[in-house]
C-alpha cells in the first residue's frame, strides 16, 4: 500500500473513531443532561416541518414514475394488476426511507454542517465552552434528536404519498383495474415492510445528524473550510445511507420478515 493510501486509510479510521466517540457523548448527554425544550422544538420545526414540501414532492413523483415503469414492464406479461403491489412494497421498505433520507441529507445535513462550521471558525463554539456549556449538549443533541424523530415521520409521509400517487397514475391514467390492483396491493404488502422502512429511516436520521454535526464541529479554518465541511457532510451522509441501506435490507428482512 503506498504512503498516500495508507494515510487516507488511517484518517478514515480516526474519523470513524471520533464519530463513535461523539455518538457516545450524545447518548450520554441524552440520558444525563436536561434538554432544552425550546431548542428541540426549533430543530423539529426546521428539520421536520420545513422538509415536508421537498419530501412530499420526492415521494409523490417517485411513486408515480415507479408505477408507470413497473406497469410498462408488467403489461408485457399481462400482470398489470400486480403493479401497485410492487409500488407499495418498494416505497415502504426501500424508496421511501432512502429517498427521504437523501433529501434530508441534502437540505438539513448541509445546513447543519455549514452552521456549526461557521460557529467553529468564528470562535462561537469556543465561546460556548467558556460559558460552561458542552457543545454536544447545546448544539448536537437537539439536532440529533430532532433528526431521528423527524426522519421516520417524514418517511411515513413519503411512503403514503408515493403509494397514493402511484395508485392515481395506475388506476386513472394507465387504466389498471382498481379492485384487482387494490386486492393485490393488500395481499403482497405487509406491515413488516413499513416497519423495515421506518426502522431504516430512524437509523438514517442518526447517520445524517451524526455525520453533519461531526463535519461542522471539526471544520477547518476559513470560508473554504466551511464549504469543504458542508460538501463532505452531504457526500458522506448520502453514501452512508446508500451503503448501510443494503446491509440493513439484508439484516432487517432476515430479522423481521
Amino acid at each position: 500500500m503506498n504512503f498516500g493510501a495508507r494515510n487516507r486509510l488511517v484518517d478514515g479510521i480516526v474519523t470513524l473513531g471520533r464519530m463513535a466517540l461523539m455518538l457516545g457523548e450524545v447518548v450520554r448527554s441524552l440520558f444525563t443532561r436536561r434538554l432544552s425544550g425550546a431548542d428541540l422544538i426549533y430543530q423539529l420545526h426546521f428539520i421536520g416541518v420545513k422538509s415536508q414540501s421537498v419530501v412530499l414532492v420526492t415521494g409523490a413523483f417517485t411513486g408515480m414514475v415507479l408505477c408507470a415503469q413497473t406497469y410498462f414492464q408488467f403489461h408485457k406479461v399481462k400482470m398489470d394488476t400486480a403493479t401497485l403491489a410492487v409500488v407499495s412494497v418498494s416505497m415502504s421498505s426501500e424508496l421511501g426511507p432512502v429517498l427521504t433520507a437523501l433529501m434530508v441529507a441534502g437540505r438539513v445535513g448541509a445546513a447543519m454542517a455549514a452552521e456549526l462550521g461557521t460557529m467553529r471558525v468564528t470562535e462561537q463554539i469556543d465561546a460556548l465552552r467558556t460559558l460552561a456549556t458542552h457543545p454536544i449538549d447545546y448544539l448536537v443533541v437537539p439536532r440529533f434528536l430532532a433528526t431521528v424523530v423527524s426522519l421516520p415521520l417524514l418517511t411515513a409521509e413519503s411512503i403514503a404519498v408515493g403509494i397514493a400517487a402511484g395508485y392515481f397514475v395506475g388506476v386513472y391514467l394507465l387504466d389498471i383495474d382498481a379492485a384487482y390492483a387494490w386486492a393485490n396491493m393488500l395481499r403482497y404488502s405487509h406491515a413488516v415492510d413499513v416497519v423495515i422502512g421506518i426502522t431504516k429511516a430512524f437509523i438514517f436520521g442518526g447517520l445524517v445528524a451524526l455525520v453533519s454535526c461531526y463535519k461542522g464541529m471539526s471544520c477547518r479554518e476559513g470560508a473554504e473550510g466551511v464549504g469543504k465541511a458542508t460538501t463532505e457532510a452531504v457526500v458522506i451522509a448520502s453514501i452512508s445511507i446508500l451503503v448501510s441501506n443494503f446491509f440493513l435490507t439484508l439484516f432487517l428482512t432476515r430479522l423481521l420478515a
Binding site: T122, D126, A127, L128, R129, T130, L131, A132, T133
Partner: protein
C-alpha cells in the same frame, strides 16, 4: 490563583509554547504581551482549558486542569469569563439572549432576576437599550462591549481578554481599556489581558509578562517594562524592528 508550570504546546513540528511558567495571584491585573503569532492567544486558551498542553501543568486554584476532560472542565470554567478577539457573539441570538446565555442555561434565577442582571450589566458596559438588537446590527466596539457583558454577567472570579482593543480606533480602544479597569474595580476580579497594544498594556496592567520564543521572557510592572534595557523588550515597547530579522 493561576499558575502555569513548564507548559509546552506544539502544532505539528512548530513549538508555540516551550516551557511557559508564571503565576498570577488573585485580584491581580496581568497583561501578556508579545509578537503577533507568538502564542499569546494560545497561552490564554490553555489558561481556560480550551487547549490542552503537550506537557506541563496548568493550575487553577491549585487544581491541575491539563489532564481534565471536557465535562470536568465545565466546572472549572464557571470561574472564568472570556472576551474573545472577535467577540464571538452568538449571531442567532439577541444582545440580551447573548448576555443572559449562561444564566438561562443554569436555570437558577427567575426570568425577572435574569432581565435585571442583563440590564445592569449592559448599563455597566455603557450599552443600555440594546437588549433586542442582533450582533449584526452592532459596531466592532459595541460587539466587544456585549462580549464583555456576557463574560461578566454571572460574576466570574477571573476575566480573560484576548486582544480586546485590536481592530478598534484609538478612542474606542481607550473606552474598552476604561471598561476593563471598571470591571476590575467594581467586580474585584483577576484580569488576564493578552495584547500587543502597548498603550493599552500600560493602562490596564499592574504587571506585564512578555512572551518571547515560547517562554516568558520577562515579568515586571509597566514602569519596569517600559524602562527595560533588554533589547528584545526595548524593541517591542518602542516598536522598532530588528534589522537582522527577516519579517516577511
Amino acid at each position: 490563583m493561576i499558575e502555569a508550570r513548564a507548559l509546552q504546546k506544539s502544532f505539528g513540528a512548530h513549538r508555540v509554547l516551550d516551557g511557559v511558567t508564571f503565576r498570577i495571584e488573585r485580584g491581580e491585573s496581568v497583561v501578556i504581551i508579545g509578537r503577533s503569532g507568538g502564542g499569546k492567544s494560545i497561552l490564554l486558551k490553555h489558561v481556560i482549558g480550551l487547549l490542552a498542553p503537550n506537557a506541563g501543568e496548568m493550575l487553577i486554584d491549585g487544581e491541575n486542569i491539563a489532564g481534565m476532560n471536557e465535562r470536568q472542565l465545565l466546572r472549572v470554567r464557571r470561574k472564568f469569563g472570556m472576551l474573545f478577539q472577535s467577540a464571538a457573539l452568538f449571531d442567532s441570538l439577541t444582545v440580551a439572549e447573548n448576555v443572559a446565555f449562561l444564566l438561562w442555561r443554569e436555570r437558577k434565577l427567575s426570568a425577572t432576576e435574569i432581565a435585571r442582571r442583563v440590564d445592569e450589566t449592559l448599563e455597566m458596559v455603557d450599552l443600555p437599550g440594546t437588549q433586542s438588537k442582533k450582533p449584526a446590527e452592532l459596531s466592532g466596539g459595541m460587539r466587544k462591549r456585549v462580549g464583555l457583558a456576557r463574560a461578566i454577567v454571572y460574576r466570574p472570579e477571573i476575566v480573560l481578554y484576548d486582544e480586546p482593543t485590536t481592530g478598534l480606533d484609538p478612542v474606542v480602544a481607550d473606552s474598552i481599556d476604561q471598561l476593563i479597569l471598571r470591571v476590575c474595580e467594581r467586580l474585584d476580579v483577576t484580569s488576564v489581558v493578552v495584547t500587543h497594544d502597548m498603550r493599552s498594556a500600560r493602562r490596564v496592567g499592574n504587571r506585564i509578562l512578555m512572551l518571547h520564543q515560547g517562554r516568558i521572557h520577562v515579568s515586571g510592572t509597566p514602569d519596569e517594562i517600559f524602562a527595560s534595557n533588554d533589547p528584545v523588550v526595548h524593541r517591542f515597547v518602542t516598536g522598532v524592528s530588528d534589522p537582522k530579522e527577516l519579517l516577511f
